[in-house]
Symmetry: C3
Subunit: 338 residues, 3 copies
């Protein structure tokens, strides 16, 4: 695909400074871009690279001195995203229909235009919406419901009875609906409690590779609309995650915890069970969250504290030996002064 810079600007609602007729075929980094590429200044610290990039044009947030044509957009990162979609598109999926080498139950119901590839399994009474793409080795358990336009990548596993909305993407080797971690310990033996809740994944969610989302004990585990979850994250039984949260990789959210909408949860964060996180909460990477968090709060650290305080406080751990010495010096001085 080939577009002029003018066409790209129109597509994203931006304006051009410089030659609007330069032809663009692809998006590339400032460093690697060639004359037919458009690139993107994401971070002020790379501003110098604007002078040396070989790109044909640069997406920016506001006008700046540049030897190359600029596409100025109000939300330049979103403009960049729209242009990547326009020029490169999302991953295509081969259109083969239902493979005779897939294992599809006679009792499953599939919508129109589904692709189910070799060796995928669709169990009894599964209901799958239009345009689904189910990759090899993916497993759709009995009584699972999947909406329209969903993609299950290879070896993704959906246990029985889980419900996925529309436009859901489950990446490879993710596990949805495995039993919650629930045992009743009696006389030193741990007795498994059947987990009769399910998992509900709402519309427009993407679940990363090798994530595990447990089904609830009595009620359902919920991942809210538009959430995007990185790889290797773990959601405990009965947790409820609100809409449009960003949950980066290797996060652990324990059972029965409630998270509001539009939260951002960094990598390797751990959140204990049975607490309530508000809306628009931001949790820094590796934080350990053990208490309720109000709306809009930013927290960092393990244990997690206010982000503004945390940077200074945690960086002072390094000074603890000095602090100890100061105290001993002071005590000696007071002792000597008596």
């Amino acid at each position: 695909m080939k577009k002029t810079l003018s066409q790209l600007a129109q597509h994203v609602g931006g304006k051009v400074k410089g030659n609007a007729e330069v032809e663009i075929t692809a998006v590339a980094t400032l460093e690697n871009a060639a004359a037919t590429n458009i690139t993107f200044l994401s971070n002020p610290k790379y501003t110098n690279a604007v002078q040396t990039t070989k790109a044909g044009a640069i997406i920016v947030g506001r006008e700046l001195d540049s030897p190359k044509p600029l596409l100025i957009a109000k939300d330049p990162y979103y403009a960049f995203a729209q242009i990547v979609v326009l020029l490169h598109g999302h991953r295509p999926h081969k259109n083969t229909g239902l493979s005779p080498k897939a294992f599809i139950s006679d009792k499953a119901k599939l919508g129109d235009n589904c692709n189910v590839y070799d060796s995928a399994t669709i169990c009894d009474n599964a209901v799958i919406g239009d345009n689904a793409v189910i990759y090899p080795g993916a497993f759709v358990g009995p009584n699972v419901t999947i909406g329209k336009n969903c993609i299950l990548y290879p070896n993704a596993v959906i246990y029985d009875g889980c419900k996925l909305g529309d436009n859901v993407i489950i990446n490879a080797n993710a596990t949805i609906g495995k039993d919650g971690y629930g045992y009743a310990t009696h006389e030193g033996i741990h007795h498994k409690i059947p987990q009769i809740g399910s998992v509900i994944i709402e519309d427009d969610v993407e679940i990363g590779a090798n994530c595990c989302i447990q089904r609830g004990t009595l009620d359902d585990t919920v991942v809210g609309q538009g959430c995007k979850m990185g790889d290797l994250s773990n959601v405990g039984h009965g947790a409820k995650i609100g809409a449009h949260c960003l949950i980066v990789g290797q996060v652990g959210i324990a059972g029965s915890t409630t998270i509001g909408h539009h939260c951002v949860i960094g990598g390797q964060v751990g959140i204990v069970g049975h607490i309530k996180i508000g809306n628009y909460v931001s949790i820094g990477a590796q934080a350990g969250v053990i208490n309720d968090v109000p709306d809009g709060k930013k927290i960092v650290g393990a244990p997690a504290i206010d982000a503004l305080k945390a940077k200074r406080a945690y960086s002072m751990i390094e000074s603890l030996p000095e602090i100890g010495k100061s105290i001993r010096r002071i005590e000696k001085q007071l002792e000597d002064g008596k």
Copy 2:
């Protein structure tokens, strides 16, 4: 299934206060329960909900004021578990025998009444006990031994020569017996050391989804009887975990470490290699354990310290800037006072 409260009380060895003839068909939460449901007061902070729940009956640990009939049990959580099993049962598995679309070696031996579903693989000389359920995409390597009544969920992988006892559950996408992380570095190159040990998983163990348990270098990695492991946990080569441990999600246990019986290990805990953890040890979530731990000890934090001390100590990190200020103020005061 329908049971009177009287029958449920008899089943769990508890007693009834109120109408013993109320009919119960299901278990539900205090909040969601309907008139034919029994519910469970697990946490004193929900005691108020007893007054408003619509449940037909409530499982409790001791008598209390309630507008609804009570089932009073000595160990109410265990009673709850028994009633969930009675009314709802564990997950049923379709009874189809050995699928002709499974890949079962002629040299494998399977017990009676096994279900091996489409696209599961059973390699040469694997020996599988009665009543096994092997889901699609599960892989049972050569010379693997599996006891009676085991379940391998979809895409679980058991490498060659591992041994599973009876009543073992391996959840989806878990990996058992992958080579231990062992390399000899010589002149800057890491040379792989064949890992000739195996993995032994004893009776009644459940392994969470996407867990990885490495085989030993020379001797075996062992997960003891009755252990229950959450999702995404990692056990290093040659680690030995005693019986009846609870190991929650995303835990890392490095190679050659020994853990006693009845330990409880919280989410995201890391335990270094070559140490010895006693029996009945409790390790709080996200702890970093770098030293031996004696029997019965409770530890928290990274680095892990005594749990009683830890709560106060770690919460004081937030006060470090204040501590620094106090010291500078004192030093100035002493300076000025000279």
Copy 3:
């Protein structure tokens, strides 16, 4: 296989002290070794076991008093590794060629002597070198390139267009080339950005079970030659890992971070995005790395600081309540003294 101690010493370039004609058939631990086994003294704290082991011979780094014959090698751990390879070999793979029950595209190209087992998938235009071993359930996406002598264990997934060098091992349930975690948030909605970069895994790399390595947004994610990655680790989009790094289990490396060669990264380490780690850097387990790290530096802790300082500093967290008390006592003393 049976070798005399003399033959083993010759194989590793070491020398014998004691009976060089003792016959050895296997390698075992100091504790479990029998008379036909050779064992290995890896750790000075086990030196006493040299007196009691029943092994036929012991590999050591320098001469010591021993009732058993010694194989003295300059690099004893490497000698041990070589002897394990000699006596036990690496895992054999059944030689069955291309299974008719594998799903191999007509448009894929496979080298000589490949084994592709039942239910493995090889998509269009994949190119696979000689001697590949592709286990059941493994998925090789469209346009993937794989070098010579590679092994893909069961249910490993390689997304479209990734490139693996020679002698690469991908363990079970690992996911290579899943889309990078990239969304442009606009008016509260997270819009997926196509990730048009790929993943390049260079020669001699081993990737642990259930690892996830994301493809890059615009350029490629790279795992350098000879790297060895433990289980359940996560590499973000566009990260570049230099040659011969050891990356232990459950590590998280965020997007666009660059790591030099010969680094050692401990278990559960988290590294933020867009930073630069030098060569020969050592990062202790559970560290949180948020800044650039120069060559040769050893760091520990979260936040990560110099390893020499860290041990003392982090262990002083336990003393914070005492420090607080000391300060209050001093302040009172000064107050009283006024």
